[in-house]
């Protein structure tokens, strides 16, 4: 009897040990070169600022965190709100929200369009939507820059048609950044909405029409509620990378239209304020984590209703 018991216990332990061993290389790599360094960032955010970049080790300071929102008055050292910083935060949140809304407005019809293609064609359309997403983000952003710059095709065409006399300044505006963000993150909106639209029972739509609903009413009362989880997922998935964007605002926004990502980079570059940069990084990280937890919760809730 006890031989059998011991044996089954040993099998279980062996299995667990083997599973741990196999996952070690990946976990170590991520701990050392992705997750672990975040703790160092947290540590640095509480250090005294170094004179030429870096930090003064062992010198604890809240300066980095304070200067996230405050700045010292030049005359009397009193703390006043740092309007420049706040305007960057505001721009980041505003642009991320607008990106989310913009992506939803064009992404929903696109997802609906794909979901209502014949089953054999859907994969091709999905492929067309995802291809740009997996291909070089920088190259795509450059391509947009190329189109909208003052000497770009759009301005040239408009000028040669006589619509305008002088090039419209599109590059280096918030609008350009917004357009670029929607452009690069649109697939993140389309895919989850498509997934829930595809699962939507089409007989519900038929039932809606059968019960005298018109197209708009069917959309409003049947289709939209049916794919609400997909819409929420899409919104969160777009908002997260948008608020942490770095490349798009740098290429399309230029030096003035910074978002948080660029502001952080500046602290490690010309501004040489590593504690502030670290504190900003942690702030961004917390925003993203909170949203991700909301997303996971939403996802779990969706699973619950699926099970019922």
């Amino acid at each position: 009897m006890s031989v059998t018991k011991e044996h089954s216990e040993r099998l279980r332990r062996e299995d667990v040990r083997q599973r741990w061993l196999l996952s070690v290389p990946a976990l170590i790599t991520i701990i050392l070169f992705a997750a672990g360094p975040l703790l160092v960032v947290l540590l640095f955010s509480f250090m005294e600022r170094g004179d030429y970049g870096g930090v003064k080790f062992g010198q604890f300071s809240l300066e980095g965190w304070i200067s996230v929102v405050f700045t010292k008055d030049i005359f009397d050292d009193s703390l006043i709100l740092a309007e420049a910083n706040l305007s960057i935060f505001w721009r980041s949140v505003k642009l991320a929200l607008l990106t989310m809304i913009g992506a939803l407005l064009v992404g929903f019809p696109t997802a609906y369009f794909i979901a209502n293609r014949p089953a054999s064609d859907r994969n091709l359309w999905l492929f067309l939507i995802t291809i740009p997403f997996w291909t070089n983000l920088l190259v795509r952003t450059f391509a947009i820059m190329d189109l909208i710059r003052n000497t770009g095709h759009i301005n040239r065409t408009l000028m040669s048609l006589g619509v305008i006399d002088e090039p419209i300044q599109m590059l280096f505006t918030d609008g350009a950044v917004l357009f670029g963000l929607v452009y690069v993150y649109l697939p993140l909106m389309v895919l989850p909405i498509y997934a829930s639209l595809e699962k939507l029972d089409h007989r519900l739509v038929e039932a809606g029409y059968d019960l005298y609903a018109n197209r708009f009413q069917v959309l409003r009362h049947v289709v939209l509620p049916g794919c609400k989880p997909g819409i929420i997922a899409g919104c969160i998935l777009v908002f997260i990378p948008a608020i942490g964007a770095y490349v798009t605002p740098r290429v399309l926004g230029g030096g003035k239209n910074m978002m948080m990502g660029n502001f952080i980079e500046q602290q490690f570059g010309p501004a040489r304020n590593w504690p502030l940069g670290s504190a900003l990084s942690i702030t961004l990280l917390i925003i993203v984590m909170v949203l991700l937890i909301a997303y996971v919760r939403q996802d779990a809730k969706k699973g619950d209703t699926d099970a019922q």
């Binding site: 599973r19 196999l22 790599t29 992705a34 160092v40 067309l128 961004l284």
Partner: protein
């Protein structure tokens, strides 16, 4: 048309199709324009002077572009392969099992690079590597390789995990039932069945590594530019069609990798 009666199309929503089609056009227009103008014989951007390979030749002869391109591809292959092997091992350890202690933590950790904004990972690595560079004096390419491997792991993991989950454990049971010891089961059954997933994982990791600019930018030492960081560095100057040509090459490589990925991923269905 044999019948004039127009049946009510249940699936149509007014305006949706034009919006969707416009989106597809807008999605591809900048890319197509970039590619087409990389073949322009004129040196001024925006003036079409006929087809030519002139800028490709000149990009190839530009030592900085050439080195950055080769560097990018080398990193993508090595880091992609390393990430795939690690992701494969991790997937074997973390799928098709009853929940065990630490599994959720492992899963969260493995997907961690997906969740953190690149800029944050970038500065974190900058801080840590700057220290290590001072301590060890080593400033070689290992930093970029390791950083890329780390953030490629979750991408390689995705298709491998999907394939494993779709793969019934009874295949391995059947092999064990037919006298195959564990290593033979892995060699003759698990690995061959997993191969398309592993290849898909590698291609995805490859494309992601090739795509990366933020982390490379923070991790690279002098002279270690990848093509994306080189392009970013050229931003201040006037865009030359050479950069367009190099960008097109990068684009074609990624699209190829992703297309092959899709083919392999679809085969499983």
């Amino acid at each position: 048309m044999p019948s004039k009666v127009k049946s009510f199309n249940l699936r149509r929503m007014p305006g949706f199709t034009p919006i969707a089609l416009a989106i597809f056009v807008i999605l591809y227009a900048p890319i197509v324009s970039l590619v087409v103008y990389s073949f322009n014989s004129e040196s001024s951007v925006g003036v079409w002077g006929g087809w030519s390979l002139r800028w490709y030749v000149s990009a190839w002869n530009n030592e900085a572009i050439q080195r950055a391109t080769l560097n990018s591809i080398q990193i993508a292959i090595i880091s992609g392969a390393a990430a795939t092997v690690m992701a494969l091992m991790a997937a074997l350890a973390m799928t098709r099992t009853r929940p065990y202690r630490g599994l959720t933590t492992k899963y969260a950790l493995l997907n961690q690079p997906l969740m953190v904004p690149e800029i944050v990972t970038g500065v974190a690595l900058l801080i840590v590597f700057a220290r290590i560079k001072v301590w060890t004096g080593y400033t070689g390419p290992a930093y970029i390789f390791l950083a890329h491997t780390a953030f490629c792991i979750p991408f390689a993991y995705l298709p491998i995990r999907a394939r494993l989950i779709g793969m019934d454990l009874t295949y391995e049971r059947a092999a064990a039932d037919l006298y195959a010891p564990p290593w033979a089961t892995f060699r003759y059954v698990t690995l061959p069945l997993l191969a398309p997933g592993a290849l898909a994982g590698f291609l995805l990791a490859f494309a992601i590594s090739l795509d990366n600019v933020v982390i490379s930018e923070f991790v690279k030492s002098g002279g270690q530019d990848t093509l994306p960081t080189y392009m970013l560095g050229q931003l201040r100057r006037d865009m030359t069609p050479e950069v367009n040509a190099a960008a097109t090459v990068l684009l074609v490589i990624s699209i190829l990798a992703v297309s092959v990925f899709f083919v392999f991923n679809r085969k499983k269905n």
